[in-house]
Amino acid sequence: MDIYRAHVLVCGGTGCSSSGSATLIERFNQKIAEHGLDKEIKVIRTGCFGLCEAGPVVIVYPDGTFYSRVKPDDVDEIVSEHLLKGRKVEHLVYVEHATHEQNAEKKLDDITFYKHQHRIALRNCGVIDPENIDEYLAMDGYKALEKALTSMTREEVIDEILKSGLRGRGGGGFPTGLKWKFTYQSQNDQKYVACNADEGDPGAFMDRSILEGDPHAIIEAMAIAGYAIGANQGYIYVRAEYPIAVKRLSIAIDQAREYGLLGKNIFETGFDFDLNIRLGAGAFVCGEETALMHSIEGKRGEPTARPPFPAVKGLFEKPTMLNNVETYANVAQIILHGAEWYASMGTEKSKGTKVFALGGKINNTGLVEIEMGTPLRKIIYDIGGGCPNGKKFKAVQTGGPSGGCLPESLLDTPVDYDNLIAAGSMMGSGGMIVMDEDNCMVDIARFYLDFIVDESCGKCAPCRIGTKRMKEILDRIVEGKGEEGDIEKLQALAETIKNTALCGLGQTAPNPVLSTLKFFRDEYEAHIKEKRCPAHHCRSLLQYRIDPAKCKGCTACARVCPADAITGTVKQPHVIDVQKCLKCGSCMEKCRFGAISRV
């Protein structure tokens, strides 16, 4: 192996790729070659670093200097100053949100965003080149598979996973070891392991990051699972919306085959295992396990009633064990370090760590992995840096369309499966969307139902018809046509759908409405009774006004108004004609004096 004096790590995750990290890599390689440093310095495209807000991200080792929002033109300076002369480019170094501190000496682990994290599932993301199996091998890659195959019985592997307390990270929270055990116990000549990489919850992107940043971890875990349950074929079902993940996974599978880590007689133990990728085609319901398996079979992705459970009769009618990406990402570490190590982290019933995708109205958007039991407040404020622009926090949504919105008063809840359910939400796959005072909770509930109505597969009536009726009521409420009794109707519909829908999608679909009704009932009432949106968000319920004391009569608003609704003479306060106003908000954006407000 060649030895380099410095490594330049450039994030190649979806967020940073979207903001141009591929151009950065090209430029780095070009400039490094121009200075004749290409034998001394290596540029590596890694997976996601997690701090997407600061993207594109570049880290220079051995110093560990963390450069953020790097532009192509900045590359020349980093090369000629830092790499050539050893002088860190101070003004490009990441600025801490809370303290505005810009310290070139600060290592990654000292930055507030990373300090409180404990990365197990994300351990290699942003650290290794995901397209190079040797880098994974250097991080103890495939050692767990070797250990399992050469020194553990199938029962011992299952027992280790059981004792670790690992639970399904896709949202269900079912004990992973039990799933393995049940499929192991099923007698059949053919069994399958499958990986659910159909990450559909809006706002959750940890599975994508793991696939993009550490694909071998999933392959290794699936091979271990195959050994444990007695399967020699696996399928990974990936969203088609994740092209980078699909590409890196394909490369990784090819490399693993080449190294004999997939295929026949792995580690000369007589164990055969191979993997295939199947692409989704844009159906949220395919995240449900029975629907996902039907989709792999080439059918409509409609769920079927359980039992029979997939452990008995799954893919192609054979016993199948399906786990989520993040669940698999923990497996090799548990086998290597033991169940006790894993179970020493977390709370009584939720062990280990969980990855959350912080998004919405939060300063540090990105992926964080924390120990189970960390309070929401610590995640949102200490790691996430709170709401931007000094806005007031209103709610945090967890669990995607199946989850709920939790208010300020519940921020001290330690995050685990059971606490979140008790609080009226759920873990889901780990999306965590922060909302501030400008977000209308009725509209958010309507937004989620809109999603569900769109994604309901239509097989069962409660979900197909019930959610549509709920959405119609919510549409009316946000348009200012809410009536007395609407809240009760929503509640009755919600309970019925919860109790009667066929699959998890339908059974949890009313949750966003129920949780917002529980914690933000006053907002519903304001819409219905007072025809007022407290967040000034719902267009039908707001008016734009010009404060005559602040208006300088610059005419900017009148010129931008598409409806000629603003009148007034130069240097005199202007007035908005509420009858003509389209409520587009253009005037407010243009006003430089803060004279226009929504009421």
Partner: protein
């Protein structure tokens, strides 16, 4: 061979290559969509014959998944992310502005076949919210007033 004929030949070849796969219909439809840009009825018929399944089964699958389109899409497909993170940061107003500038409702294509406007599910680029994509190009941290300029760029891009 005309362009269409060679596309049909490619389709038949692709069906042949996947025929023995378990669950071949999905990958075949995905391949067909890549070749033709959509999966119209005549393409579905060829797939049904090639795989030995009924046309109704092919149609059932093709219409179930949102990524399969029965009609051709515009030259530039504009997708606005309506995932939660983008939505709370105002992606709806970006979508509304696009609809206004292009003078078409969401989910349709302009008469000249140039632009298709669609709302999409979470793209997983929440760090750049609100996000919009035009074919392969990604536009992050979008605001409605950036819309006209971006559209004009593609309007003037003559092929």
């Amino acid at each position: 061979m005309s362009e269409m004929e060679s596309k049909y030949a490619e389709l038949r070849q692709m069906i042949e290559a996947h025929k023995d796969w378990p669950g071949a219909l999905m990958p075949v439809l995905q391949g067909a969509q890549e070749i033709f840009g959509c999966v119209p009825e005549d393409v579905q018929k060829i797939i049904a014959e090639g795989l030995g399944v009924t046309l109704s089964e092919v149609y059932g699958v093709a219409t179930f998944y949102s990524q399969f389109s029965l009609q051709p899409k515009g030259k530039y497909v504009i997708s606005v992310c309506l995932g939660t993170a983008c939505y709370v940061k105002g992606s709806q107003s970006v979508l509304d502005k696009l609809s206004e500038v292009l003078e078409i409702p969401v989910g349709t294509t302009t008469k000249d076949g140039k632009f298709t406007l669609q709302a999409t599910r979470c793209l997983g680029a929440c760090g750049l919210a609100p996000v919009m994509t035009i074919n392969e190009d990604v536009y992050g941290r979008m605001t409605p007033d950036q819309v006209p300029e971006i559209i004009a760029k593609y309007q003037n891009k003559e092929a």
